[in-house]
C-alpha cells in the first residue's frame, strides 16, 4: 500500500499551483491517502470477466441546447495564471532553440 507523505502533497500542490496552508496540507495528506486506498481496493477486483467501460452510467446523448452562457471574463480567467500579457496567458518557451 502506497502511503502519501506531507512532502508529496506539498509537491503536488506546487505542480497544480495551489497554495495550501500548513493546516490544509495536513488535512489533504489524510484525505488523499484515503482516496488512494479506495482506488487500490478497486484494483483487487477480478477484472478478467468485466468488459472495459468508459463511463459508469448507462447513458447516451446527454446534450445541451446551443445557447450562450456567460463566460468568466478575461480578468477572472487571467487571475488564475502565474503570468499574463496583452490579455493573454503567458507560457514559457514552447520549443528549444535549434
Amino acid at each position: 500500500m502506497s502511503s502519501l507523505s506531507r512532502d508529496d502533497v506539498a509537491h503536488l500542490a506546487g505542480l497544480a499551483r495551489i497554495d495550501l496552508s500548513d493546516a490544509e496540507l495536513d488535512k489533504m495528506v489524510g484525505e488523499l491517502s484515503v482516496i488512494l486506498e479506495s482506488v487500490a481496493k478497486v484494483q483487487q477486483a477480478g477484472a478478467e470477466d468485466a468488459p472495459p467501460m468508459s463511463h459508469p452510467m448507462p447513458l447516451t446523448n446527454v446534450t445541451r441546447p446551443d445557447e450562450v452562457r456567460p463566460s468568466l471574463g478575461a480578468d477572472a480567467a487571467l487571475a488564475m495564471a502565474p503570468a499574463s500579457e496583452l490579455q493573454r496567458f503567458s507560457v514559457p518557451r514552447i520549443l528549444a532553440e535549434d
Binding site: V62, T63, S71, A74, A77, S84, R88, F89, S90
Partner: protein, 516 residues
C-alpha cells in the same frame, strides 16, 4: 531553423513522367454554432482575447463538458451530405499532447469511433480535352467531431515564429469551438491532375458546407483549413497495374489556407519529392509548412517526435447514439447535391458551360444565387462577380466574397446600370467606393456625384461640337463607315466627363450624320 533554404525540385512534367502521386486531404471545418462544443461560451470571431472562456474550455479541475446538440446535428448532416454512414453509437476520446494551445493538455476528439464514415464526394474538373467537365470521385474515410485549439502569439526572436521565440501568449477564445475533421481515403489515379483535383475537392466541399449552413467556411479566417498529404510512387512497369506499386512515404503539409494554395502546395510537394526520389534518396515522413508568399513548403519538426497521443475514451462524456429516426429526419434537411444544383441554376440563369465554369471557379454560385434573389439580372450578377470582383480577387489572392461586397450590393449596382443611372465605367467607380466601405452603391453614387447626364440638350451639344472638330471622321461615318463613330463616341464621353450614356451618344451621332 532557417526557412530560407530552397530545396531542389524536379520540373512538374518530369516528375509526372517518373512518378504517380497519391494524395490524402484533411479538412477542418469550424462549425457556426453560437456556442462551443462542450460549454456555453460564445464563438464570436475577433472577440477581445480570453473573453469567451470558462472553467470547461480552460480545463479547470472539476469542470464537466456537455455536448452541444446543434454541433452533433451539424456533424450528422455533414456526414449525410458526404454520403457517409452515420454511427449508431460512438464516443469521444482524449488526444493527449503537451502544447499550451489546449489548456487541458488534451484535445477532445473522436478516435476509432467517428460519427460518420465511408462516404464520397464527386468533384468536377475541366475535361482534359478542354471540352466540358469530368467527374473525379473522392472517397471519404471519415468525418469526426472535435474541438479547436487556442491561438498563440510568439514573442521574441526575429521572426514572430515559434522557433527562437522567448515565450508565447495564448488566447483561448478559439479553444473548444466545434470542429469537424473530414478525412479522405488515399486519392489515386489523379495523375497530373492531382493538384487540380485537390483544389476542386476543397472548393466543392466548401460549397457543400456553405449550402448546409453549418459553417462560415472562410479560409482566410481559418474556419476552413486544409492539410494535404502527398506521396509519390514509381510509375507502373509495362504490364503492371499502377495500384500494385506500393505507396511511397508521405508528407503532411499544413497551413494550406486558400484554394489556390491547395493546388500550389500539392504541385510543389510533387516536384520536391520527385527530386529527392530521382536523386536516389528517401522522402522523410514529416509535417511540412506551406508558405504562401514564397510558394514552398519547409520542414516543420514540431510534432514529429510526439506522435503518440495516448488516445483513450473520454470519461466525462457519454456516448453519442443518434436515433435512426433523427438521422432520417436530418436527411430531409439536406440541400440539393452541388452538381445537380449547378445544373439547375445554369439552366435557370441561361449561362453557357464556359460561363458556368467561371462562376464555379470563382466560388460565386451561391453569391450569384443570392444576388438574383435580391433582384439582380443573372447576366448582371455574373458580370460583377466573375468579372470585376474575380479580377480583383485573383490579383490580391483573395476570395470574391472578401471585399465587403454583398449580393444586395451587386443587385443594387446592377439595377442602377439597368435603370440608366450609371454606365459601366461609373458603376466600376461605385464598386470601388463600396469596397472602400463608403456605403451601398446608391450611397456611393450620391456621395461621389456619379450619375449619367440625362440632359439630352447637353449631350446633343457635345455631339455637335465633336462632329465639328472632327470633319474627317464625320465624313467617314457619313460615307457608311459606321465603325468610325467609335472615335467620336469616345470624344463625346470625354466632353461629358464620362457621365453620359454611350449608347445614347452613338444614337445621336449616327442620326446627326444621317446613318442612324
Amino acid at each position: 531553423m532557417s526557412t530560407a533554404t530552397t530545396e531542389p525540385v524536379l520540373s512538374y512534367d518530369e516528375a509526372l513522367e517518373k512518378f504517380d502521386p497519391v494524395m490524402g486531404l484533411e479538412v477542418h471545418v469550424e462549425l457556426n454554432t453560437k456556442t462551443k462544443m462542450f460549454c456555453g461560451c460564445a464563438t464570436e470571431f475577433g472577440a477581445e482575447p480570453n473573453t469567451q472562456v470558462c472553467p470547461v474550455c480552460l480545463g479547470l479541475p472539476g469542470a464537466l463538458p456537455v455536448v452541444n446538440e446543434k454541433a452533433v446535428e451539424s456533424a450528422i448532416r455533414i456526414g449525410l451530405a458526404l454520403n457517409c454512414e452515420i454511427a449508431e453509437w460512438c464516443r469521444f476520446a482524449r488526444k493527449n499532447y503537451f502544447y499550451p494551445d489546449m489548456p487541458k493538455n488534451f484535445q477532445t476528439s473522436q478516435y476509432d469511433e467517428p460519427i460518420a464514415f465511408n462516404g464520397w464526394l464527386d468533384v468536377e474538373i475541366p475535361a482534359a480535352s478542354g471540352d466540358g467537365t469530368e467527374v473525379f470521385r473522392v472517397e471519404i474515410e471519415r468525418a469526426h467531431m472535435e474541438e479547436d485549439t487556442g491561438k498563440s502569439l510568439h514573442v521574441g526572436g526575429s521572426t514572430g515564429r515559434i522557433h527562437g521565440a522567448e515565450y508565447s501568449l495564448v488566447d483561448y477564445n478559439r479553444a473548444g469551438i466545434p470542429l469537424i475533421e473530414i478525412v479522405t481515403k488515399p486519392l489515386r489515379g489523379a495523375g497530373e491532375r492531382a493538384p487540380e483535383v485537390a483544389k476542386a475537392y476543397v472548393a466543392t466541399l466548401r460549397d457543400l458546407l456553405r449550402a448546409l449552413h453549418v459553417s462560415d467556411v472562410r479560409m482566410e479566417q481559418g474556419s476552413l483549413r486544409c492539410d494535404a498529404n502527398l506521396s509519390l510512387r514509381a510509375k507502373a512497369a509495362d504490364g503492371q497495374a499502377q495500384d500494385d506499386v506500393p505507396l511511397g512515404t508521405r508528407t503532411e503539409t499544413k497551413n494550406v489556407n486558400s484554394l489556390r494554395s491547395v493546388e500550389r502546395a500539392v504541385r510543389y510537394e510533387i516536384c520536391r519529392q520527385a527530386a529527392i526520389l530521382d536523386g536516389g534518396d528517401k522522402v522523410t515522413q514529416e509535417t511540412r509548412h506551406w508558405h504562401e508568399d514564397t510558394g514552398v513548403t519547409t520542414s516543420g519538426r514540431e510534432k514529429s517526435d510526439a506522435e503518440d497521443y495516448r488516445y483513450f475514451p473520454e470519461p466525462d462524456l457519454v456516448p453519442v447514439a443518434p436515433a435512426r429516426e433523427t438521422v432520417d429526419e436530418l436527411r430531409t434537411t439536406l440541400p440539393e447535391p452541388p452538381a445537380q444544383r449547378r445544373k439547375r441554376l445554369q439552366a435557370d440563369w441561361g449561362y453557357s458551360d464556359l460561363e458556368m465554369r467561371d462562376v464555379v471557379n470563382a466560388g460565386a454560385v451561391e453569391l450569384i444565387e443570392l444576388s438574383v434573389e435580391a433582384g439582380a439580372t443573372p447576366a448582371g450578377a455574373r458580370k460583377w462577380w466573375t468579372g470585376e470582383l474575380a479580377r480583383r480577387a485573383n490579383a490580391e489572392g483573395k476570395g470574391v466574397d472578401e471585399f465587403g461586397v454583398t449580393p444586395e450590393h451587386v443587385a443594387e449596382l446592377d439595377r442602377t446600370v439597368k435603370d440608366g443611372r450609371l454606365n459601366d465605367s461609373m458603376a466600376r467607380q461605385v464598386l470601388d467606393g463600396v469596397i472602400a466601405g463608403e456605403g451601398s452603391p446608391v450611397e456611393v453614387a450620391d456621395a461621389r456625384g456619379l450619375e449619367l447626364v440625362q440632359d439630352d440638350d447637353a449631350l446633343e451639344a457635345a455631339v455637335d461640337k465633336v462632329i465639328e472638330a472632327n470633319p474627317d471622321v464625320a465624313e467617314k461615318v457619313r460615307s457608311g463607315k459606321v465603325q468610325a463613330a467609335g472615335a467620336l463616341i469616345g470624344q463625346v464621353m470625354k466632353e461629358m466627363k464620362g457621365q453620359a450614356d454611350a449608347g445614347k451618344a452613338r444614337q445621336i451621332i449616327l442620326s446627326r450624320l444621317g446613318v442612324g
